[in-house]
Amino acid sequence: MQENDHSIVRAVLAGDKEAYGALVHAHSGSVFRVAFRMMGNEADAEEIVQEAFLRGYQRLESFQQRASFGTWVYRIAVNCALDRIKRPGIEAEYRAGDESDPEEKTVQVETQDADPERALLSREISAVQERAMQRLTPTEKTAFVLRHHEDRSVSEIAEVLGIAPNAAKNAVFRAVQKLRRELAPLRGMA
């Protein structure tokens, strides 16, 4: 797969624009997944996917042939999402979302309970969790999403964010600490 990706990149750089379509087909799923986990909604995640593949195309000449294209475009997507989260307007909207519509927030998390009371409780927990996530800084949030939900190692997170491994490790740790603190009152409810 990787070798194949590399030959596609060479073809694109040689002028075969259509060949890029194969890379988009192969990697849009994983890019969408991380974008959704970071942005929390489908519309923004889809925009991030577009932006990541566009930036990827524009920077294709800087793609190192020893790297994996999947990892490379994934990293671009995370940074696009991070840029987006950092924009004050979006961030304000993001935070304002806290109080607006708890229903909307909770559709994103798993509720497997058939029992309506338990489902309600689990939705409540999800809402608290979502709020706690919004209180993290963009770096902490990204580090946590990548570590906890995307199962990326600390060194991968450091590489994606362009920070030292120790800084990445600390960001994950601070996120965990804050989330635990925020979620502590719920302990025993679930």
């Binding site: 849009s28 927990i125 502590a184």
Partner: protein
């Protein structure tokens, strides 16, 4: 028996802890209880359900993207002025940025390398060590100076002054870029004291640089959570170290940096 820190437990949870940590949790009741609690709370974080995308999703992304892409061949021709159109903008910008980055890396990396070389040659009895070192020390000292000023400003930044906070943030962004460069170089040059301090500093810079709307509370949080005073102290110690190096090479030459 030394108990595990919360940090070590988080590492262990994510499978990145050291072997000793896992053995300790098995042997120590106290830590086992705390670890169980941590595991429970992290396990309880509901997984985010990502909406399923059908098989056509990739194709839809491509269809929306395709009209926005300019074939690479045509771009190459553009450099000779045959078909100059909208695409030249980003191409030129990318190239310019690339060149600037390369220059910056060559400059700072080269400077640092010169310092290391000068140090080696010095100890090997080279008679003319001062030809390169002072400039280098200036480059690193300048970074440390700016960093020190930023940390001092951070210590006193308790106003709601947005302009002041924005300045702090833009300075942090700039310093973050150069800091990465110095940290990597220091690491390669096997200078653990410098690399370690720059590493800790980078965490602080990233927090300030990446905060979308930096408030007084955010600054207070960075100060208390990231021990910025300790880092400021480290930077000051490092500054004396670099100044000493500069003075040593300058002695007898009269020039001062």
């Amino acid at each position: 028996m030394k108990h595990l820190s919360e940090e070590a437990m988080v590492e262990l949870y994510y499978g990145e802890g050291e072997g000793d940590a896992s053995a300790h949790v098995k042997a120590c009741r106290e830590c086992a209880a705390q670890y169980a609690e941590l595991t429970q709370s992290l396990d309880a974080m509901s997984p985010v359900v990502v909406p399923a995308k059908d098989a056509q999703y990739g194709e839809r992304v491509w269809q929306a993207l395709e009209p926005r892409l300019i074939p690479y061949e045509k771009k190459a021709r553009g450099w000779f002025g045959w078909s100059l159109s909208g695409w030249t903008g980003w191409k030129a910008a990318t190239l310019a940025l690339g060149c600037a980055m390369l220059l910056a890396v060559a400059f700072a990396g080269g400077r640092y390398w010169e310092r290391i070389t000068a140090k080696t040659e010095n100890s090997a009895g080279n008679k003319n060590p001062q030809t390169t070192q002072p400039t280098v020390v200036v480059v690193l000292t300048d970074h440390l100076d700016r960093t020190e000023r930023l940390l001092v400003a951070l210590e006193h930044a308790d106003s709601q002054d947005h302009v002041e906070n924005a300045q702090l943030q833009s300075e942090a962004r700039e310093l973050l870029v150069s800091n990465r460069l110095y940290r990597t170089t220091a690491k390669h040059a096997k200078d653990p004291a410098l690399a370690g301090a720059l590493d800790r500093l980078e965490g602080v810079l990233a927090e300030i640089a990446n905060d979308p709307n930096l408030t007084a509370e955010d600054l207070q949080r960075v100060r208390s959570e990231m021990n910025t005073q300790g880092i400021l102290f480290e930077i000051r110690v490092l500054k004396t170290r670099t100044t000493d190096q500069g003075n040593k090479t300058n002695s007898g030459r009269g020039a001062s940096i």
